[in-house]
Amino acid sequence: MPTLAHYLIVSGLLFALGMAGVLLRRNLLIIFMGLELMLNAANLSLVAFSRFNLGPDGMPNYNAQVFVFFIITVAAAEVAVGLAIIVALYRAKQTTHVEDLNTLKF
């Protein structure tokens, strides 16, 4: 029987994986995937917290579960805008690597 701790560990791993992707990978699209992974890690632990920590009336706090839907929607909007910016950048520079983003310098 999985407990709250199991869910939290998986979510923590997902978050760490996502952040490692953002920090270590050099391709903008992979970085973006890492960012989405971080948001989904938060979704998983929100639902787990809401499901396992029942209120005094035996019902979970549904605010958190509704919050998850908001996060999913916002993430979709962010992807739409983000991919558009990355496509525009690719058209202008023919690259999606972070090392090539060097127009702005000290």
Partner: protein
């Protein structure tokens, strides 16, 4: 009497209406859109004086608060959006050149409409009392700003700034959401008032986990307000973004970040176990931000980049005010500082745009000889730079003075010392601009500097307010929440 939420609804409707007008009208002159937006936002600003104070159904919802602070920040957001639109009208020729379009003038309408949506997000943020609302409002602001920063699709700098802003903004969103998750997990609530209640009742809750969540949220907000060590996106994004959007980022987005910071920290300050830790973290962040922002600004040659570093430095002073929040006066000192910051930053950008249009660049060297070419613009810039540096008889001086007063009252002598030393270094880099204007000869081929009537009046109002409030700060102090 009008219900408070009508203000936000009106702003969103205005935005949708302008988008529709943009798509279906045959006129190619997009400046009409900007004038419509300015007029609409001004009407909402006037409306904000006639709203119902604290209606009962809003109080009990737990999602939306109506108090003096929220109303004040709504007006702040409206006014800063109006000035951003005035700047955008001035900046239009440059945007037109750098946006790919089938016929001249196409594809620039959204440049005037997107700030309206950002404004709605900022206004919602001012009233948000629940992490769900805070998150949604914050994302409405951030996502619309991504588009605005990357708006000039033929300018590599703008695209690059947009990409950097996107990646780091999304990263901070990830931290924010994960932090909220842990705060929710430990307190069982998403509303700030309920979190405060649960924290005071249930004192044996896992403090490490709550602090972990709060730390994540602080990291995310540190990105938004540009506090060191989360400031590294600021110089690049400020330099690459279209100039009106840089001003918008510097003023409205930062003020909103501080408001959220005040609101989020409030429940945790009431817990005795957290208070000293939080104040220590804020003081450390503030010291780091002050030192980094002021020292890194010294060697800059690009004016927008310089203003980027200067905005980091100002975030440091504001954080110092927050660290001294135990002092009864500190809250008002922070709000006063934000008002002064609003006036002087917008004044600097109002001068920068005509100079960029005339000389084709935004380096400090492009200001050379402005004192002879356009004495009034140079005078306005002189007032802005003096106020940013904190010269007496400007509003910037009193902003810093009030903040230092509260931190000394709270016995943070180290922080006060850092503050005073960094103010001195600030004098040096703002003086570089003044020197370029009055002591350097103008470039031979410089075009004459022209200013539109709208931005001239905005400039006049900002400059007069800076000087008047610099002599009589109590005029503003009296109306602050």
């Amino acid at each position: 009497m009008i219900s408070p939420i009508v203000l936000e609804v009106c702003v969103v409707c205005l935005g949708i209406f302008l988008l529709m007008a943009e798509s279906f009208s045959v006129k190619s002159n997009k400046v009409v859109l900007a004038h419509g937006a300015i007029f609409g936002l001004l009407s909402v600003f006037v409306m904000s004086f006639f709203i119902e104070a604290n209606p009962a159904q809003m109080q009990s919802s737990g999602f939306y608060v109506v108090d003096g602070l929220s109303l004040f920040f709504k007006r702040f957001a409206l006014l800063s959006t109006i000035i951003t639109l005035i700047l955008a009208v001035d900046y239009l020729p440059i945007v037109q050149r750098l946006v790919p379009s089938a016929k001249p003038g196409a594809g620039t309408g959204e440049f005037f409409v997107l700030p309206v949506f950002t404004c709605a997000g900022l206004m919602w943020m001012a009233s948000a009392a629940d992490f769900i609302v805070i998150f949604c409002a914050l994302e409405l602001v951030t996502i619309s700003l991504y588009v605005q920063v990357a708006y000039m699709r033929r300018s590599l700098a703008s695209l690059e700034a947009g990409t950097k802003f996107l990646i780091l903004g999304a990263l901070s969103t990830g931290f924010f959401v994960y932090g909220i998750t842990w705060i929710f997990g430990m307190t069982g609530q998403t509303g700030l008032a309920e979190i405060q209640r649960n924290l005071t009742i249930n004192t044996e809750a896992n403090q490490m986990a709550i602090l972990f969540g709060l730390g994540m949220v602080l990291v995310a907000l540190g990105f938004k307000i540009a506090a060191a060590p989360f400031q590294f996106w600021v110089p690049d994004v400020y330099q690459g973004a279209p100039t009106p959007i840089t001003a918008y980022l510097a003023v409205a987005s930062k003020a909103a970040g501080f408001l959220i910071l005040i609101r989020v920290l409030e429940p945790f300050f009431t817990v005795v176990a957290f208070q000293p830790k939080l104040i220590l973290v804020l003081a450390l962040l503030s010291g780091l931000t002050l030192i980094y922002g002021n020292l890194a600004a010294i060697p800059q040659t690009n004016f927008k980049r310089l203003l980027g570093y200067s905005s980091i430095a100002h975030a440091g002073y504001l954080l110092a005010g927050l660290a001294a929040i135990g002092d009864a006066f500190a809250g008002r000192a922070v709000v006063f500082y934000l008002c002064g910051y609003f006036l002087m930053t917008f004044l600097a950008f109002l001068v920068l745009i005509p100079v960029t249009k005339a000389t084709g660049g935004d380096d400090i060297a492009h200001f050379n000889g402005l004192g002879r070419r356009s004495p009034t613009l140079a005078l306005a810039m002189l007032i802005a730079a003096a106020s940013l540096a904190g010269v007496p008889f400007t509003v910037g001086f009193f902003g810093k003075f009030f903040i230092f007063e509260s931190i000394i009252n709270q016995h943070f002598y180290g922080l006060a010392l850092i503050g005073i030393v960094t103010v001195a270094s600030g004098f040096y880099y703002y003086f570089k601009v003044i020197r370029a204007m009055y002591w350097m000869p103008p470039a031979e081929d410089a075009a004459p500097v022209t200013i539109s009537r709208l931005s001239k009046s905005a400039m006049l109002i900002c400059a007069i307010l800076i000087v008047v409030l610099g002599c009589y700060p109590q005029l503003l102090m009296r109306i602050l929440p």
